[in-house]
């Protein structure tokens, strides 16, 4: 009596014979090897070569010349295998049909090596544009099968910190893309070609509508550094520039606001204005104070602060806890007694948090917050598919001595939405930290700031205004 176990790999069958009783005088053969295995031992391990793409019937037969016994038969097909090769190429600004050696991504283009993994087969490939002549990568001995997932991790482009590579073309078209790094492939020949085009996409950006932008950092590589997507990749009718409409970009240091082609994209208006490397611009207005002016109304119970009508032209002062409570209890809206601006001074250094909407009941009435501390916009605020005409979810001006932070929900996978708020957003000593990333192709700006000029007109009516004075003495 015998039984057998076997294991099939792509090239061999390994089988074991389990013989119960004496095997003396018996020899063994199998349907594949067609060879006689004289087997005096009770257990032996043997290998039989098989070929990919063939159908086999497996049976082990033993005989002593007089009697013959055979195992059950097992029919199986050895999967065919092929090598998958192709170009890993830069499709930025190119057609998917442009794959080829001339557009191949070189090691010098990337901040690291490309890694390749056929996840459905747990096979790793090799990428070496310096060595391979007719392709960039190869994954060897891939079993024939459809809908296999080939993932290629392409590092970020060198010297373009605000961009990353995303898969945009698979064999001449934009279909079969699973994610920004993976494609669906079918393998049904011994040499299978999949050219993979990757284009530079923004790693997260913001858009300012009708407002000036200032970056004060002098010790940074660039004072303002943003990757603007290609015009064709932008969604929601947003401009392919930092500023949409009228405005100018100013920086103490240099500017790096470029699209994937390397073009400067400061302002989309015909009258594009900018000034960079101003060094010490002295743009901060020393006439502005973070202290509430005399006569401000002190507020200690904020439970209904924004539910009551604020007085336009008035100034208020309260601590952060109080105002955060007021925001939480506002129901997402506020109102003023009449057209104008009310100014709220925050007296401590804690973080002012916008966890929900904060909208004015009237376009001609606004609240201005002045705080010594940080300001945080929650990652929960935002929308998935905004447009350039989306309404702001926070309708207030903010002047902070510290930083203004747009919280991100994390990007693995990307799950940030786009938040639209009003400006001015001013950070005197910190930065405005645009942390959000829409992921994938980043077609939407992750943050949109709409400049509201109401403060230019209405702050004159408050004690938060300034004056210019000139003196002349006549003896």
């Amino acid at each position: 009596m015998l039984s057998l176990l076997f294991k099939k790999t792509k090239k061999v069958i390994i089988f074991m014979l389990f013989i119960v009783g004496s095997s003396l005088g018996f020899s063994f053969k199998n349907t594949l090897a067609q060879s006689i295995i004289t087997h005096p031992a009770s257990i032996r391990k043997h290998k039989v070569d098989i070929s990919p793409g063939e159908v086999y019937v497996w049976q082990v037969v033993t005989t002593n010349g007089k009697y013959t016994a055979g195992s059950d038969t097992w029919t199986f097909t050895v999967a065919a295998i092929g090598d998958v090769t192709g170009w890993v190429w830069d499709s930025t600004g190119k057609n998917c049909s442009d794959a080829g050696a001339s557009n191949e991504l070189q090691k010098s283009d990337l901040d690291g090596d490309v890694s390749i993994n056929l996840t459905t087969q747990s096979l790793e490939g090799a990428w070496d544009p310096d060595t391979f002549d007719s392709y960039s990568y190869i994954v060897e001995e891939v079993p024939y099968s459809t809908s296999q997932i080939l993932c290629v991790n392409v590092p970020s482009p060198v010297d373009k910190a605000n961009f990353k590579y995303g898969l945009s073309c698979v064999n001449g078209s934009g279909s079969d893309i699973v994610s920004s790094s993976c494609a669906t492939i079918d393998v049904d020949s011994s040499t299978q070609t999949y050219n993979l085009g990757y284009k530079m996409i923004s790693s997260g950006w913001f858009n300012v509508i009708d407002g000036d932008v200032f970056g004060g950092c002098t010790s940074c590589v660039d004072s303002i550094s943003i990757g603007i997507p290609s015009e064709d990749d932008i969604l929601g009718s947003f401009a392919d520039s930092l500023i949409s409409g009228v405005g100018a970009v100013f920086a103490n240091g240099s500017l790096s606001i470029k699209n994937p082609s390397g073009d400067d994209r400061y302002v989309n208006d015909d009258n594009e204005y900018y000034a960079e490397s101003m060094e010490n611009s002295e743009f901060w207005s020393d006439d502005f104070s973070f202290n509430a002016p005399d006569g401000s109304e002190e507020v200690s119970d904020c439970s209904d602060f924004f539910n009551d009508s604020l007085e336009a032209g008035s100034t208020y002062e309260a601590d952060t806890d109080c105002i955060n409570d007021a925001l939480s209890n506002s129901g997402g809206s506020y109102s003023l007694s009449e057209d104008g601006v009310a100014v709220v001074y925050i007296t401590d250094f804690d973080t002012l948090e916008f966890e929900g909407e904060f909208k004015s009941s009237n376009d001609d009435r606004r609240v201005l917050f002045v705080t010594n501390g940080d300001v945080l916009f929650s990652g929960d605020l935002g929308e998935v598919a905004p447009t350039s005409s989306s309404d702001p979810v926070v309708e207030a001006g903010i002047i902070a001595e510290a930083s203004i932070v747009f919280e991100s929900n994390g990007n693995e996978p990307a799950d940030d939405t786009t938040i639209v708020v009003e400006g001015p957003l001013v950070s005197k000593d910190g930065t405005v930290d645009f942390d959000r990333d829409r992921g994938e192709l980043n077609g939407y700006p992750a943050q949109v700031v709409i400049f509201n000029p109401i403060y230019l007109k209405e702050l004159k009516e408050t004690r938060s205004s300034v004056v210019d004075i000139s003196w002349m003495v006549q003896q």
């Binding site: 605000n162 300012v208 009708d210 407002g211 000036d212 932008v213 200032f214 970056g215 950092c217 002098t218 940074c220 660039d222 303002i224 550094s225 943003i226 100018a248 009258n271 204005y273 000034a275 960079e276 490397s277 101003m278 060094e279 002295e282 743009f283 901060w284 207005s285 006439d287 202290n291 002016p293 005399d294 002047i399 400006g423 001015p424 957003l425 001013v426 950070s427 000593d429 910190g430 930065t431 405005v432 645009f434 700031v449 000029p453 230019l456 007109k457 702050l459 004159k460 004690r463 205004s465 300034v466 004056v467 210019d468 004075i469 000139s470 003196w471 002349m472 003495v473 006549q474 003896q475």
Partner: protein
Amino acid sequence: MKTDIHNEKGQALVFVVATMTVALAVGVGVSLRNLSSLSRISRTDTSSRAQAAAEGGAENVLSLTDNELEAKIGASPTVITYVPTGNDNVTAEAEVTVDYYNLSPDQDYLPLLVQKGQVVEIVLSGDPVEVCWSPLTEDLSTDLYFTSYNDSGDVARAGVSASSRAGFPGSYDSKFDGSDGGEDGFSDCYTPDVVSSVTGLRVRSINGISRLGVYPSGDLPDQGFTITSVGKLQNVEQGEEAEVSVVVVRSFARASGIFDFGVFSGSMGMPLD
């Protein structure tokens, strides 16, 4: 009829703004609320005591709101009397009058001074203006940037480069319009596009201090207030009388320059990205 105010603190406490008296017509942007905390110095000789009284009188009304100042126009002078605290029995008096500030009939342009990086605002009533300028010091040329607005919430922006590039940082790079050449001693002139029905034009000086001349194309609205304070001494011996006038031009209240920005990241150590 005069309005009398007696300052019980006495002349020794009359305070002036040192930085504002050292030069004529030096524009300084000041928060209204901060005017009460400005530095004080005392004066002893008669001329200086008269000047101090005049300056004190002017400062007494400087921190009033636009509405409060308007209420003083055409009204009786405000008289502030400083009671002597020393042994000389000399009393100082300041007589303060307020009027609107505008171009005088012999002026072709409104003179203004803009500090480096800062903003001044010109009140307009629908008509554009030509702005001519020169740097305060020849070795530090200045570009100008303009923001105009109206009551409907419209905004327009414009920038202009000076013809001279003296004193700009070596790596400075900008894209502004070219100037139209100078006139009346100004090195450059430019007429910025403004919004329709413009009510305010804000001018920012880049790289240095700019001396401006604003040439209106029509009637220029009032730009603020002229505060005239005349300091006099009483009970002084004959021949030692002194009278000093201080004229202060105070603009209408305006929003600070930071309100021009949609996003302002002032950090010296972190990029805006």
